[in-house]
């Protein structure tokens, strides 16, 4: 696509053609940006594949790892989406953790009483109720968002603990801090590619056999794809679909635009007739519902049981994933996947984590080189040093202590925030108090 074509030469049409030029230029720019992201992604995948091959750690890209990654990433990703809905409307939602807790409890209870899908619905409802409470405190009473969030976590924890004791104490399989086992919603395999059934015929597992060959890149690709299509829970599928759905609603519908305007410039939105408070209430209910779904997934699918404390701070990691993803659905999903990946590796094969160090080292050094060429000396220096340290660590040790692996999501979040906060783009009015009639 060339800019030189079609440029009018008549001076009188200058204004129109300039607008066209600008549009064309910005389209070119975003196309270039997309190409860059794609190229980087491909490069990283090739690097990962190479490292896997070099260090003989098949688990880096195995379907088992990817499957586990998905399972671990879903609650984080759903929580991240929940945070997204809230913060895009301008309300900080630290209470996601609490809403998730309610999701785990009510999800397990609903599943135990009425079946897995009912449990999902009731878990969502529990989260929504907490979202409503948060809205009441922050939107109507103008309580500080963070304080309200902390209060909700406390309250939710109390409710879950109390109800557990009340309901589960004398139930077989249950106890004061856990529910009896519950059934999941079911899994499926994609036919032909991953061995799924097709009208009763048990199809071949093409990807699986490709994976077994451990060929460079091809087998890795097969592993990744199979992980996403084999033994896939319906809830996981739902969670994955919620990502593009969230994007579509937020950026393509009237409702989504209005919600976003409340988070960017509520006074402007108000001046144009958008009911800011009502939008925020709805957004927070959606936020709570998603966090409730995250909790329900944890209890019903991942663990098949409600256990006290099972959220383990995933609500906060979800917030971190949201920030890592620059308040965008796809970014939040990527962040959740990243955190889930590190966690999955740790569960399945600790030596694979060690291999990951090599990956990090090479990637960091390449990044440092690129930044150096761009003239960003200090960034290049910092990432270069980090890359060297990672490499040193790889070569001088055989294993990464388990605690350090578990720390990864949090450290990565800190690093991303420290490096990129200046360039991250939270909604402009996020977290700030607002009342109708306010000047700004």
């Amino acid at each position: 696509m060339s800019l030189g074509q079609g440029m009018p030469s008549v001076a009188g049409e200058g204004a129109v053609s300039r607008a066209d030029q600008v549009t064309a230029a910005s389209r070119l720019q975003s196309a270039r940006k997309r190409q860059r992201v794609l190229a980087t992604g491909l490069g990283l995948f090739v690097l990962l594949s190479t490292v896997r091959w070099l260090t003989d750690s098949p688990d880096l890209t195995s379907s088992g790892t990817v499957g586990t990654t998905l399972r671990l990433a879903v609650p984080i990703g759903l929580a991240a989406l929940g945070g997204l809905w809230s913060e895009r409307s301008g309300i900080v939602n630290i209470g996601l953790e609490g809403m998730m807790i309610l999701g785990t409890w009510f999800g397990a209870w609903g599943a135990w009483q009425y079946g897995p899908w009912a449990g999902v619905a009731i878990g969502i409802a529990g989260g929504m109720a907490a979202g409503l409470l948060h809205a009441l405190a922050t939107v109507t009473f103008n309580v500080d968002h963070i304080i309200s969030g902390v209060a909700i976590i406390t309250l939710a924890g109390g409710i879950a603990r109390y109800l557990s004791v009340e309901v589960y104490t004398d139930v077989p399989g249950g106890g004061a801090t856990q529910s009896p086992r519950v059934e999941g919603v079911g899994t499926f395999d994609l036919p032909i590619l991953s061995g799924g059934g097709l009208f009763g015929w048990h199809s071949p597992d093409v990807l699986g056999s490709l994976e077994e060959h451990h060929w460079l890149i091809v087998s890795d690709l097969a592993g990744v794809l199979r992980g996403a299509t084999h033994n896939l829970s319906y809830l996981t599928l739902l969670a994955i679909l919620l990502v593009p759905l969230t994007w579509w609603i937020m950026w393509r519908t009237v409702f989504g635009l209005r919600v976003r305007s409340c988070g960017e410039h509520p006074t402007a939105a108000d001046s144009l007739g958008v009911p800011v408070n009502r939008m925020r209430y709805l957004a927070l209910m959606i936020s709570g519902g998603l966090a409730g779904l995250a909790g329900a997934f944890l209890a019903i699918e991942a663990a098949s049981i409600y256990r006290q404390g099972q959220t383990q701070g995933r609500g906060f990691i979800g917030l971190a994933a949201m920030i890592f993803g620059n308040w965008l659905p796809l970014g939040a999903a990527a962040g959740a996947a990243l955190f889930g990946f590190a966690d999955a590796l740790n569960l399945r094969d600790k030596s694979a984590v060690h291999a990951l160090l090599l990956f990090v080292a090479v990637a960091a050094l390449v990044y440092a080189a690129v930044q150096f060429r761009r003239g960003k000396r200090s960034t290049a220096l910092v990432t270069g040093v980090l890359g060297l340290l990672a490499g040193l660590w790889f070569f001088t040790t055989d294993e990464v202590p388990v605690e350090f692996v578990q720390m990864t999501p949090y450290v990565v979040t800190l690093l991303v925030l420290a490096v990129a906060t200046q360039r991250l783009r939270p909604p402009a009015h996020d977290g700030k108090p607002w009342r109708k009639g306010q000047v700004e």
Binding site: V92, I94, L133, A137, F141, N142, V143, D144, I146, I147, S148, V150, A151, I152, I153, T154, L155, A156, G157, G158, I159, R161, Y162, S164, V165, E166, A176, G313, F316, L319, A320, I323, P401, E403, F404, Q406, M407, Y410, V411, T413, L414, L417, A418, V419, T421, Q422
Partner: protein, 371 residues
């Protein structure tokens, strides 16, 4: 008359919140088939025994310290959600150092306390520095650091600070020699002693008051929290102020684990008390960041925790108390907000309704009647 009304109104908020929480919890109990009045009476009777009172004071100390830590940062307009991580790191370091030496009693205990404060200060400085240099919001960084602290401590404990002489295979540090123990200082009766570390809490509380309300530094700190622009115009340098505030908050946070360390367990293990960070937020909010208010809040929470133990014997879930605490927090902040609006409206009306005084200066009243 007006001078009395304001503090009374302010007191009304937490009282109303507690009453509201009692009502809600009573409702929950009733819906679950228990008799709320019976439950509350049980709790009151049990909670007011000598053993209980001693236990309550002991429990209240770490809550108080946690509350003060949060309040210091809050007065500056910062949210130190990282108290949890700060005291975890501090407790480990203090336990390790404390067990590594043996000094005369007062010195030993002082050393442990200082190590705890220093560790908390350093861990608390990180969010402050990140905020000032990179603009990162301290809430998320402090939450991340809480989790990182858990793993760092766990790693250090398992690999470097482990007590290898212990036969029980528990993951814990070496026990501190008795010279590093804080003695029980107050005796209310059989099995009802209060650990002397309550004095540390007292000292911290007084220091908090003096520092924040009586020193120039404290004035600058409060001004920064109330009106950052005006504070800057008055000469406060915002960056250093943020870091100092977080460090101070972290230093006090570091002490939160000391009651357990110095008065109870004498070493750090994986079962060291958790959750005190968030409880401190509740306490600080209840007490509206006031040194005496925080103490009352701490005692209240400790009372609830302690008196609920008796409910187990009657088959009533003692977790009702956690619901109570949650409702208290939410309703107290809403109540304070509403009360503040009422006070402001009243004060404005008071001034507006005052008739303009007569012009000649001679009739002006002497000003400055102490309030």
């Amino acid at each position: 008359m007006q001078r009395l009304t304001i503090p009374l109104l302010r007191l009304a908020a937490p009282v109303a919140a507690v009453l509201f929480a009692l009502t809600i919890s009573g409702l929950v109990l009733w819906l679950s088939g228990s008799d709320p009045f019976h439950a509350f009476k049980l709790m009151w009777d049990f909670g007011t025994t000598e053993q209980s009172i001693a236990s309550i004071v002991d429990r209240a100390v770490p809550l108080y310290l946690s509350g003060v830590a949060f309040a210091i940062a809050f007065k500056m307009g910062l949210f130190n959600i990282g108290v949890e991580g700060q005291y975890t790191v501090a407790a480990l370091m203090a336990a390790f150092v404390g067990a590594a030496v043996e000094l005369p009693p007062v010195l030993h205990v002082t050393l442990i306390l200082l190590v705890a404060m220093a560790s908390g200060m350093l861990w608390g400085a990180i969010p402050g520095v990140l905020k000032v240099t990179r603009g990162v919001h301290e809430v998320i960084t402090s939450i991340m650091l809480n989790n990182i602290a858990t793993f760092v401590v766990s790693y250090l404990l398992a690999n470097h600070f482990l007590d290898r002489s212990d036969e029980t295979l528990n993951l814990q540090t070496k026990k501190i020699a008795p010279s590093g123990w804080f003695p029980e200082l107050f005796d209310l009766g059989p099995n009802a002693t209060i650990n002397g570390i309550v004095l540390v809490a007292l000292v911290i509380g007084v220091s908090y008051y003096v520092l924040i309300w009586r020193t120039r530094f404290g004035y600058d700190l409060r001004a920064s929290g109330l009106n950052p622009l005006a504070a800057r115009a008055s000469g406060v340098a915002p960056g250093p102020m943020v870091v100092k505030g977080m460090m101070l908050s972290g230093a006090v946070a570091g002490l939160v684990g000391m009651p357990i360390l110095l008065g109870f367990s004498h070493n750090y293990g994986l079962d060291f008390g958790t959750g005190l960070g968030f409880a401190g937020i509740t306490v600080a909010l209840l007490g509206r960041n006031n040194p005496v208010g925080i103490a009352v809040g701490a005692l209240l929470l400790a009372f609830l925790d302690r008196s609920a133990q008796i409910l187990d014997l009657e088959d009533i879930p003692k977790e009702i108390v956690v619901i109570m605490e949650g409702v208290i927090v939410l309703s107290v902040v809403i109540a304070y907000e509403l009360v503040q609006r009422v006070i402001e409206r009243q004060q404005r009306r008071m001034i507006a309704e005052e008739p303009p005084p007569a012009a000649p200066a001679a009739t002006r009243q002497p000003l400055g009647a102490p309030a």
